[in-house]
C-alpha cells in the first residue's frame, strides 16, 4: 500500500425518483453536503474523480464534463472511472490511489446516476456485445438470477429454505431503510409479501430486487498530513481489492465466484483480517438481489460455501447479529448505480466514524464495503477503520 489515506467527509442526496431536479443540480446537492460535512471548500481540492454507468443511461456522454461546474472541478485535474455496477467502489479506489501515491493531498470523489431518466435494463444490456451475449442476458436480473440458480443448485439448498432466507433479508433491509434518511424505498414488507411477490426472472421476485433510483454521493479523501491539520474525525482506508474474470459469462464459475473471493482476500491481507465474521464490525455488501447477497457472504468468507441461508435465518447478518450487513437498507432499497458503490463506502465511513445516526452499529471500528460490475465480471472491495 502507498502512504496512508483518510476519508473526512460524506455527502449524499436524498435518493429516489428525483425528477424535481436536473442532473447537475442532483450532483451539486451531494457535493454541497460533502463540503458542509468536511468543512473544506472547493479551493482545498487538488483533483476530482467521478463516474457513472454507461452513457446510454441518461443519454449524455462524458458526464464528468457536464458536471465540472457542479463538482467544482474547473481549473483542476479531473478523472472519470467507469466499471459498471462497481463504478462507485472504483471511484473510491481511484481517489485512494491518487492520494496514496503522493500526487494529491485532497481528492473529491463523486458518483451519480439518474436512472429514472432512461431505461436501466436496456442500458445494462448494452454492456453485452451484440454478436452473441446480448440476446440472452436479459439485463441485470437475467444474469443474476442464473447465477443464483446455479449457486442454489450447486449446494443442494432446498428452494423453500432459500426463499425463507431471501425473504428474511428483504424484510430486514426494508425495515433498515426507515432508519436511513437518504434511502429510497421505505415500505414495510412481511416475509409472505416477499415470497408471494411477482416473479421477475425466476427465482427472483419483485421484493428480492433493488429499485430504480436517482442519486449522488460525494466523499473527500485526504493524506495523513492533511487529516492531522484538519483534526476532524477520520476513517482510514485499511484495504482495497479488485478482481475480475473473463468477459464471456460462461467462461468462469459464478457459483463460488473467484473474482469476489480474490477481491476480498486482497483487501483482507492488507487490513490484516483473518476471520472476517469476527474481525469486521459491519459490512455494506452490494446487494441488488437478495439471493446474490447470500452468495457474496460465502465468497467473502462470512460463512462456509452453501451455508449462507442457514446463517441468515439464524440472524447472523441482522442489525443485531454477529456481523450486521447493510444496516443502511443496502442496494435493495436504494440503487442509483453510478453512486451505489460509493454509497457502500460512504456508509462504511459513517459507521466507523460514529456518524450513522439511527442505523449506527455500536462501537463499529472496522467496516467492509463492496460493489460488483459487468455481466457478473468484476468485484471491488474497500475496508475502512476508525484507527490508522
Amino acid at each position: 500500500m502507498g502512504r496512508p489515506v483518510g476519508i473526512i467527509g460524506v455527502g449524499q442526496t436524498k435518493h429516489g425518483r428525483r425528477m424535481d431536479v436536473a442532473y447537475p443540480e442532483l450532483v451539486r446537492e451531494a457535493v454541497l453536503r460533502v463540503f458542509e460535512d468536511s468543512g473544506l471548500e472547493p479551493s482545498d481540492i487538488d483533483g476530482v474523480v467521478s463516474g457513472t454507468m454507461p452513457s446510454m443511461m441518461e443519454g449524455v456522454a462524458l458526464t464528468h464534463f457536464y458536471f465540472a461546474d457542479a463538482m467544482q472541478a474547473v481549473g483542476k485535474p479531473i478523472l472519470k472511472t467507469e466499471t459498471c455496477g462497481s463504478t462507485g467502489v472504483s471511484i473510491a479506489h481511484t481517489a485512494y490511489y491518487w492520494v496514496a501515491s503522493g500526487m494529491a493531498d485532497v481528492v473529491l470523489a463523486v458518483g451519480h446516476e439518474k436512472m429514472n431518466e432512461g431505461d436501466a435494463q436496456a442500458t445494462m444490456t448494452t454492456v453485452a456485445e451484440p454478436f452473441y451475449q446480448r440476446y440472452f442476458i436479459a439485463g441485470a436480473p437475467g444474469v443474476f438470477s442464473m447465477q443464483s440458480q446455479m449457486w442454489a443448485d450447486r449446494y443442494g439448498i432446498p428452494e423453500a429454505k432459500i426463499r425463507d432466507a431471501a425473504a428474511h433479508i428483504s424484510v430486514e433491509h426494508h425495515n433498515a431503510a426507515f432508519e436511513n434518511p437518504y434511502a429510497h424505498v421505505k415500505i414495510r414488507v412481511t416475509a409472505d409479501d416477499v415470497k408471494n411477490s411477482r416473479v421477475i426472472t425466476y427465482p427472483v421476485r419483485l421484493l428480492d430486487v433493488c429499485p430504480t433510483s436517482d442519486g449522488a454521493c460525494a466523499m473527500i479523501f485526504v493524506s495523513q498530513n492533511k487529516a492531522k491539520k484538519l483534526g476532524r474525525k477520520t476513517a482510514w482506508v485499511k484495504g482495497v481489492g479488485y478482481r475480475g474474470e473473463e468477459y464471456f459469462f460462461g467462461d468462469s464459475d459464478k457459483g463460488l465466484w473467484q473474482g469476489a473471493v480474490l477481491a476480498a482476500k486482497q483487501a483482507y491481507d492488507q487490513a490484516g483480517i483473518k476471520n472476517p465474521r469476527k474481525d469486521l464490525d459491519v459490512a455494506e455488501v452490494y446487494n441488488p438481489f437478495t439471493f446474490q447477497e447470500m452468495l457474496f457472504y460465502e465468497c467473502f468468507g462470512f460463512c462456509e460455501p452453501g451455508g449462507a441461508p442457514d446463517m441468515v435465518l439464524k440472524g447472523t447478518f441482522d442489525k443485531k447479529g454477529q456481523l450486521p450487513c447493510d444496516p443502511s437498507g443496502g442496494v435493495l432499497c436504494t440503487n442509483p448505480i453510478g453512486a451505489t458503490g460509493l454509497i457502500r463506502v460512504a456508509e462504511a465511513v459513517l459507521q466507523v466514524t460514529g456518524k450513522a445516526g439511527e442505523h449506527q452499529i455500536p462501537k463499529a471500528k472496522t467496516a467492509f464495503s463492496h460493489a460488483m460490475g459487468g455481466v457478473d465480471q468484476f468485484n471491488g472491495v474497500m475496508i475502512v477503520g476508525s484507527e490508522l
Binding site: 424535481d20 436480473p141 446455479m150 473473463e246 467462461d251
Partner: protein
C-alpha cells in the same frame, strides 16, 4: 405534493457497422450450416465455445478449429418474464448456460421447444443437469439466432 417540473422527451439513434473479424465470421458461417464451432487452446487444452481467436487465460492464438457437439447438459437457467426497450428476444423465454459435450466452458443460449408461457409448468420441467439438444431455424442468416434454442433431449 411537490411541484411537477417539465421533462424533455428525447432520443439518440446512431448507426454502427461492427466488424466480425475472421473468427466470428467463420463461427457464424458455421451457424448457417447448422454447425457449432469452438477453438482449442494448445496450452491449457481447453475447447472454447463460441470459437475465439485467442485463449483468454493463456493469451496464445487458438487456431485449432473444432466442430463441437450439438448436445449438452444444463448448468444454470433463468425464466425471463419482463421487458425493456429494444429487448432483442421476445419474453417470456428461458436463458440458459449449458456445457456442450466435450467442451470446457459454458455456452449461453435459450431453452425452448415446449410451451414456456406457464412458469409453474416450466419450473417442473427444467432442471440443472438435464440433457439438451440444438434446434435450428429453417431460415438461417449466419447469426446467433440461426440456432433457435436447445430442447430437452
Amino acid at each position: 405534493m411537490s411541484k411537477e417540473y417539465k421533462t424533455l422527451m428525447t432520443e439518440i439513434r446512431l448507426p454502427y457497422e461492427l466488424a466480425y473479424g475472421p473468427v466470428w465470421t467463420r463461427f457464424f458461417e458455421g451457424m448457417a450450416e447448422k454447425k457449432i464451432f469452438g477453438t482449442k487452446c494448445t496450452k491449457c487444452g481447453r475447447i472454447l465455445v463460441p470459437a475465439r481467436s485467442f485463449c483468454p487465460r493463456c493469451f496464445i492464438d487458438t487456431d485449432e478449429w473444432v466442430e463441437v457437439a450439438q448436445t449438452g447438459t444444463l448448468t444454470a437457467w433463468s425464466y425471463v418474464n419482463y421487458r425493456y426497450y429494444g429487448m432483442p428476444t421476445e419474453p417470456p423465454f428461458i436463458s440458459a448456460l449449458l456445457r456442450l459435450d466435450g467442451t470446457d466452458v459454458d455456452f449461453l443460449h435459450l431453452i425452448g421447444g415446449f410451451d414456456v408461457s406457464d412458469f409453474e409448468k416450466t419450473r417442473k420441467m427444467v432442471k440443472n443437469g438435464m440433457r439438451l439438444k440444438a434446434v435450428w431455424s429453417d431460415d438461417r442468416k449466419a447469426h446467433i439466432m440461426d440456432l433457435k434454442y436447445f430442447k430437452p433431449a
